[in-house]
Symmetry: C2
Subunit: 285 residues, 2 copies
């Protein structure tokens, strides 16, 4: 007999494509582990259909949504309320349905912060360096500035306009001491040398380019904590070289897990079963 009956609430991923996501496997395993009457599905939604899909999720009393590419920015304009972090990041990846009112959140940056905390990497009062200025860098950098209490935040990137906007927005919306700089060999060496925590948030090193890293191994010191947002491969060249140098390392997989745990807790009000969820991710990576 099936576990799922008419009492079950529905959570779903909206993406385009959505049908290769790990989300359903992760969240369904977590729902089952806690015996919660919830099921999580994935919907391929073309951009032209996003508004109808969100309205539909409301009409169909969905409990929650995950929002992924390419809908994260557009979805922010379709919900009833957006929390401060997501507002500052400028996009949402999570929606909670509170009695027909759709609340938008962004769990990506918090997922990274939680991953650092689980690994025992402190950010309070420390110098944090973010590499990149795209979507991941923006979520991680902004959330770090808002909640991570770093002594200072330096952001290096190669897309000037994006980098400039991120620096300006962090300065305008948070109390963090923030500095941006165009990423090149020289600025990178200087920034890494003066950082305590390095957060790599560019796609460099991602499959298939697994033999690349932005950071030369000789820059890595054992007292530098290294996080890589890339989770495919599980251990990037940056992570391998940092580990070899004795740095504390935090894998992108842990951020991916972390953002899913934040979503789970927003939807259910229950503490997310980290081990259950990690096992699903490990089995699929």
């Amino acid at each position: 007999m099936s576990r799922i009956d008419a009492s079950f609430g529905v959570c779903a991923l909206l993406g385009y494509p959505a049908h290769h996501s790990m989300g359903p496997a992760i969240h369904n395993a977590a729902f089952e582990a806690l015996g919660l009457p919830l099921v999580y599905v994935a919907h391929d939604v073309a951009p032209a259909d996003l508004a109808a899909a969100v309205a539909g999720a409301r009409a169909l009393s969905y409990r929650g949504l995950s929002i992924t590419m390419p809908h994260k920015v557009a979805a922010l304009g379709l919900v009833d309320e957006v929390d401060a972090t997501a507002q500052a990041v400028g996009c949402i990846n999570t929606v909670v349905n509170r009695d027909g009112r759709l609340l938008g959140h962004n769990s990506d940056g918090q997922g990274a912060l939680d991953a650092l905390e689980r690994a025992g990497v402190r950010t309070q009062g420390r110098r944090v360096l973010v590499l990149g200025s795209g979507g991941a860098a923006r979520a991680v950098g902004m959330t770090m500035a808002m909640r991570g209490q770093p002594a200072c935040l330096e952001i290096l990137g190669v897309v000037d306009e994006e980098l400039c906007r991120l620096g300006r927005d962090v300065a305008a919306r948070t109390d963090a001491k923030v500095k941006t700089c165009r990423l090149d060999e020289e600025s990178l060496a200087a920034a890494v040398a003066s950082a305590d925590v390095l957060l790599h948030c560019t796609p460099v090193g991602m499959t298939p380019d697994t033999d690349r890293s932005l950071v030369a191994p000789e820059l890595l010191r054992p007292d530098l904590a290294v996080f890589d947002a890339v989770y495919n491969p599980r251990r990037t060249l940056l992570i391998e070289q940092a580990a070899a140098r004795g740095c504390p390392v935090v894998l992108g997989m842990e951020m991916f897990l972390g953002q899913a745990m934040v979503q789970f807790e927003l939807w259910t009000g229950h503490k997310a079963p980290a081990e259950v969820m990690r096992k699903v991710i490990e089995a699929r990576l």
Copy 2:
């Protein structure tokens, strides 16, 4: 690890309320038995939200819908195409999504016809009597007239306008020889006496009024096949008395199963696993 991943398609029930339906348990058991990557959920949808819910199901690429009270008539106007039977019945209980085009069907009447066939009760060339003129009677009577090839169809009811409209519609839309008559003791006795197949489609005998039957036991002859659309209780007083008289009997549960099997086959293109589905219904009735 959960069975349900991102490749799964979604079917759902829209009703108000929907959360006590047996549909999810039945269809999920059937999907699982055949290893199909589908999951079925139930959504409570208020009448004011029905249009957004149907549009949402389209935007979310739902594979199929079940439509139940109070949405069966309104939903007919929200789909792109309605098959001839559902058009004649005047409401839909099933929607199939063919590449974004929503096709409406009504499986209730066919569910009754299939139940009769599974029980070995022939209707071709035989005199069929329908008791009632409401939703169930309309679906069963109209489908019988369109597909059951009865020698003649007599319909007795107590709501004159409804009865009159049903008789008129059957005459206008089918080749069946149809007659309607106000249901009273005398007309009922005469109609039962000249019928080969009796289809009871009123709520009489339903829980909590399980000690009632429209048909006096002395009217029941062993050569009269007796079907009761009521499935709660599983064996109504009418069914018990008919069985005691030696009549072939067909339970409402079998119509309920039959309409679910038709839905399953419309959504999946696979033969429905009758035994798996019956087991779920039996466990819940």
